[in-house]
Amino acid sequence: MSTEITTADINVPGHVAVRRQIQPRRIELHVGVGLILAVVVACLVIPILDRTDPNALVALPLQPPSAEHPFGTDMVGRDVFIRVFTAGRLDIALAALGVLVPFISGTVIGTVVGASRRRLVDTVTMRLTDCVIAFPFVILVLVIVVIIGADTRIPLLPPGAASVLVAVWIVNWTTYARLARARTHVLRQEDFISAARLLGFSQARIVARHLLPSVWPTTATYAVADALVLVSLIAALPFLGAGIQPPTPEWGSIMYEGRGFLLQAWWISFTTAGVLLVLGTGVMLVVDALVSNPRRPRLP
């Protein structure tokens, strides 16, 4: 028995089968995008509707959730609700910035290196990524965060953001570069690239017009998942004494500050965690939908 024959027999009614394959993926995609949008829109809209200063001491500390303060108040009496959604703007913006730069640079570097026929270029780049990847990420981030320090500012972003972003930019391009290189190596075998070569197109033109358009969807899919990893990382840094420092509202620091009050004020950490979890689940669903395989036979 063989897959060829099977798929031939099933796929003759091609689009019927395809329609059935896509159905579950569509649902995942829709739910995922819905969850992400819900969080993003909330983060954009809520701080506009409710103009409470997220750092204002609006009530007594450690008040449980109420109509006035849906997520309660934190240990100094700030409104957790407004803080969480103000924080979301920062976290999402940081994740986007943190993903975008490595995505672009890594994809271009990986494609160029992958297309290059000079062994040395390839070897040097790959050894470099080896080193960066083997270098424990947390340690590197911590060191860079300390070096760049809270004092270096990127306009519009709070203290500490610059260090986190630079650390992430230094490290994360490597994964994109590796993915892009691997994809390019596959593409290089294909006819349209060979054809372009034979037609005498320049290397730059082949990379820009032929390879990159086929490479970036692969790295883009990874970028979606990477954004979630980044949100988690940024949120984890306060646990290591780094990252965006309080009182700037940031998910990680809100949870970190709240961790000492789990028994008497669970809402500080856990409402924040809930919002992060909704966003994370959305991202995971989208990633699933993007990479999910077509339906497969069941074990009889």
């Binding site: 240990m75 004092d151 500490g160 309080p246 009182p247």
Partner: protein
């Protein structure tokens, strides 16, 4: 029944079994204490940090001993101290022994002080600068020759940094620190080191201790950096004492765990102000406006859950030198009046730095930010970890710093040096006043009514110059499973183990 459920039951059973195997507690004479920082060695000449001193305090045999109230000292290894203007004569108790059973004589005292005074890397060298030299006149007599009158010397002699250690150990010292675990240094205090690790230090009762033997046999210090983890562990019975938890967290404690708190006898939280010309705060009117605008009651409530007290003078409320002149409540109108005509009249921006390690500091700055917002001053809070903060402080790269200073007993020397004195000037606030320095010297060298007068003049000058803004008293809140008769925290901020 689903597999998941079964797995859950299994997990719970395993967990319960493991927990049932929990080990001993305070009843067998063992105290387990969770603290956040450990000394990297137990060399008395090398331990500048507070928590390190707390451990050293239990080991160190010192000529005098600190009373827990912080107000006076009693005799320790010394039988008597005959104070003089420029010469202190110390008589040792007879038949003193180190924990290894070897005799402790005047030779050891002299060797110890020579070691401390000559070691360029000694973090406490400032306590020894007034001492000219230390000599033994016989086996039991030591003379301290002084460069200037030093009435606080008995307090200095009680510090763990003045511990008496065997002269042989000092002579045998190579490139390594004394006391780094492999070869515990014989000590003459109530406890001796049994093991010294990076995460756990075990002390054992010293049977050769000259004073009253503690009832506690073993003290185990565990390094638990995170205060929330310390709290969780004392509540869970993993430790008997969680040092330095957030006062706001005490609501989570339940019997048998109880709160233990102590107000420092000689310690204050304050906003250190950058008095250098580079800062807006070189203008005394802005400094005073800030001092008036701060809501000390609110800081006490929000940051310390009411466990502390507003600080209304240069000194801690409990200190004998305290002369309150500030108000616990803010006065926005007065603050705005003070700002009139300054660069902050309409609006200005100040950089407030605080160490990410200090939870209280972190919360204080939030209140300060809100308080100063009310008088039109925008506060830019920048948190960084300790070493970076230190660098910024020495560089003057800040306007405000949420910090504090304290000394272990109610004597002025160290405290003044680090708040309004030259040490402070060199390090961070940039406040430099020859008048203040003269008054400090006067306070340090006098006693009795003479000292009272000097303190009064100093307080008046402080009120006029206001180089820093007191906020609250330093309070230490701990959680304990053991009675306070066995283990308690005193206003000296030392742990008292009995």
């Amino acid at each position: 029944m689903s597999m998941k459920h079964k797995a859950g039951v299994l997990l719970m059973t395993v967990g319960a079994l493991l927990t049932a195997a929990a080990h001993g507690n305070a009843s067998d004479g063992t105290l387990r204490i969770g603290i956040d920082q450990f000394p990297t060695n137990l060399d008395p000449g090398q331990n500048p940090w507070q928590q390190q001193q707390a451990i050293m305090h239990l080991i160190a045999g010192t000529l005098t001993n600190q009373e827990p109230d912080g107000k006076q000292v009693t005799m320790g290894l010394a039988a008597s101290i005959e104070p003089g203007d420029k010469r202190f004569v110390v008589k040792l108790k007879p038949d003193l022994k180190f924990s290894d059973g070897s005799a402790l004589t005047a030779t050891d005292v002299v060797a110890s002080f020579n070691y401390y005074m000559n070691d360029k890397t000694n973090g406490y060298s400032y306590t020894f600068t007034p001492i000219e030299r230390v000599i033994a006149t016989d086996d039991l007599t030591v003379e301290f020759e002084l460069k200037r009158p030093y009435p606080s010397l008995p307090f200095i002699l009680a510090l763990p940094s003045s511990e008496i250690i065997p002269s042989e150990s000092i002579e045998a010292r190579g490139s390594k620190d004394l006391y780094n675990g492999d070869h515990p240094l014989p000590a003459a205090g109530p406890f001796q080191v049994q093991s010294f690790g990076q995460d756990q230090i075990t002390l054992q009762r010293n049977s050769h201790y000259a004073g009253t033997q503690p009832s506690t046999k073993t003290v185990i210090f565990k390094k638990i950096i995170d205060p929330a983890a310390r709290l969780a562990q004392v509540q869970g019975g993993e430790i008997d004492w969680a040092d330095g938890i957030s006062p706001k967290q005490v609501g989570q404690l339940s019997a048998p765990v109880e709160v233990r708190s102590a107000l420092a006898i000689n310690g204050l939280s304050f906003l250190s102000l950058n008095n250098r010309d580079s800062s807006l705060l070189s203008d005394v009117r802005i400094r005073k406006a800030i001092a008036v605008a701060i809501n000390r009651k609110q800081i006490n409530e929000v940051v310390h859950a009411g466990q502390s007290q507003p600080a209304l003078s240069l000194w801690a409320t409990a200190s004998r030198y305290s002369r309150p002149f500030l108000s616990a409540d803010p006065d926005v109108t007065r603050a705005k009046e003070l700002l009139a005509g300054t660069k902050c009249e309409n609006a200005c921006k100040l950089k407030l730095i605080t160490s990410s390690a200090s939870e209280a500091g972190g919360d204080t700055v939030i209140v300060v930010q809100q308080n100063l917002k009310a008088i039109g001053i925008e506060v830019d809070i920048v948190k960084a970890e300790g070493a970076t903060i230190n660098e910024w402080l020495t560089q003057g790269n800040f306007d405000l710093w949420a910090g504090g200073s304290f000394d272990v007993a109610d004597f002025p020397d160290g405290y003044l040096a680090w708040t309004v004195g030259q040490a402070n000037e060199a390090l961070y606030s940039g406040y430099s006043s020859s008048e203040m320095n003269r008054l400090i010297e006067q306070v340090n060298m006098t006693t009795g009514s003479e000292r009272d007068a000097a303190v009064a003049a100093l307080n008046a000058l402080f009120e006029k110059d206001l180089p820093l803004v007191p906020t609250t008293n330093i309070v230490s809140v701990s959680a304990s499973r053991v009675p306070s008769e066995i283990l308690n925290i005193s206003p000296t901020m030392y742990l008292e183990v009995r």
